[in-house]
Chain length 344, copies 2
Amino acid sequence: MAALVNDGFLRACRGEPVNRMPVWFMRQAGRSLPEYRALKDRHTILELCRDPELAAEVTLQPVRRLGVDAAILFSDIVVPLQGMGIALDIKAGIGPVIDEPIRARADVDRLRMLEPDHDVSHVLDAIKLLRKELEIPLIGFAGAPFTLASYLIEGGPSKNHARTKALMLGDTPTWSALMEVLSESVVAYLRAQIHAGAQAVQLFDSWVGHLAPHTYEAHVMPWVRSIFDGIRDLGVPSILFGIVTGELLSLMSRSGADVIGVDWRVPLDEARRRIPPGMAVQGNLDPAVCLAPWDVVQAEATEVLARAGGRGHIFNLGHGVLPETDPHVLAELVDLVHSWKVPS
Amino acid sequence: MAALVNDGFLRACRGEPVNRMPVWFMRQAGRSLPEYRALKDRHTILELCRDPELAAEVTLQPVRRLGVDAAILFSDIVVPLQGMGIALDIKAGIGPVIDEPIRARADVDRLRMLEPDHDVSHVLDAIKLLRKELEIPLIGFAGAPFTLASYLIEGGPSKNHARTKALMLGDTPTWSALMEVLSESVVAYLRAQIHAGAQAVQLFDSWVGHLAPHTYEAHVMPWVRSIFDGIRDLGVPSILFGIVTGELLSLMSRSGADVIGVDWRVPLDEARRRIPPGMAVQGNLDPAVCLAPWDVVQAEATEVLARAGGRGHIFNLGHGVLPETDPHVLAELVDLVHSWKVPS
């Protein structure tokens, strides 16, 4: 096992002082890197996820190239669903597609809990390989139950999540049964990742910003909280992230996560006003800014750093790296964040 | 010209007291109505928009069926772009597709201002036909310049508007030139609609919620303001609408519109705290709620009414009617809103 040379990311998650600002990028591994696209020419995404050596290699690519302060396991939020026996595929230009969407109680009753050691041992093997190499923290992750449920119910990516909401509001017992099996599976999955070596975890509730606050509070928040409650004893920092969450930040910040990930729509000083004092924030440069000339990237990134104020901030984009991003810009951005003078 | 029997909608726009709550639905004309789908089997959307008789018929369909307090002209926000000579189509399952996207200054310089009497006379004819029939106010509309620009630059609907933002941030002179020709065309278009008989107008800035507040303020808000400034002398109420605008509401409310349309993500009492006192609000039931059982619709709609507080509120959905909505539910919803006791 490699020694942890740089713990700035973990310190910032806990709100501790840092010498230089930690930074990583959501989707830092993947489509923006030519070395990833070369692998992708020969393998599907799910093949890359299923092979521990390949998943580890893809995870390491941005670490070698960008100088980030954390690695995030290369995988996909549907991997544990596939592990649970749900037939699915990730289709180019579309995203995850579920063979038999879940629409009724009988569909939910057929689901079985994830058994990580049996169902996703390849993920745990990738984590073990990575810990031998990495001198920075490794972030494990899972999709949050609402976002997973939306894929299962809609059958794929959805513009308005209408079927998901109709089931949630119209058949709450079935919804709760689905959220229960997903939440328990996510807890088992994250615990297994941590036991295998993940030093932090991020829960991606990508689509939760489609919900009104009172709907989130009634039908989603209790399950998110059950996940953070279910991993707290393992003592690793946890991050909760979604996009379009301005109205949900206050509720999300009371779900038990240590860090709230914020997209670029809410300035981080305003985000801090909606969450408990001292809680850490992650974000939030608009990924599209990285397509603009460097002087714009510089000005916008500096604005993000200034608004967050240093302490308890992990610099990141507000959502994933766009495929058309020049990785040299990301490397320069890492240098810029690292050279920013952290207020004392 | 038919006499205006019911002016509740216009009174609410102006913040005046009403005897019963006014209600209409974005996309009330269209995909949820079987009588519309019957027409759609024989005509494309652009054919329906281009034929004054057909556009008027589609506009009237929900008025006959639902008992709403306002009609909205059936058209599409790309109709004036087509009028300006831009080659485009509306493709089933995709949306507007632009033949030659605008990517550089030369593309912008080739655009010409809309001349409504010449370019979109069919729209004005439809409005004149409608005013002969309608006993409720007719709402005209246009797409806002950011949203139109996004279609023109991306070439169609976009997930992240990355090219649009890159142009806006990276080549501000070209961006401004594009916004200028679009804004001036929108002013001309709305003025012509009002002269033809539209008794209110709504500006749809559907995608503006993808922008951070400081970006909206610098690169979009001045153009939106120029539009409301450009129609103010005509004295009809104006509505500004976008989705995911929680962080933008304060800025949007200072753009010169009389009414702010709010999606379901921001409770209307919270929305009111972000805009000037007394300004009217429109919204904001989640369209997906209409797919749930009636008791859920009833509870959620009543919650919307209560939070908005009555005065200066036009009941609507938070976005367009979903195609799978049962129109009987919409009719029942109109009755529910009308029977709600307006606080005195």
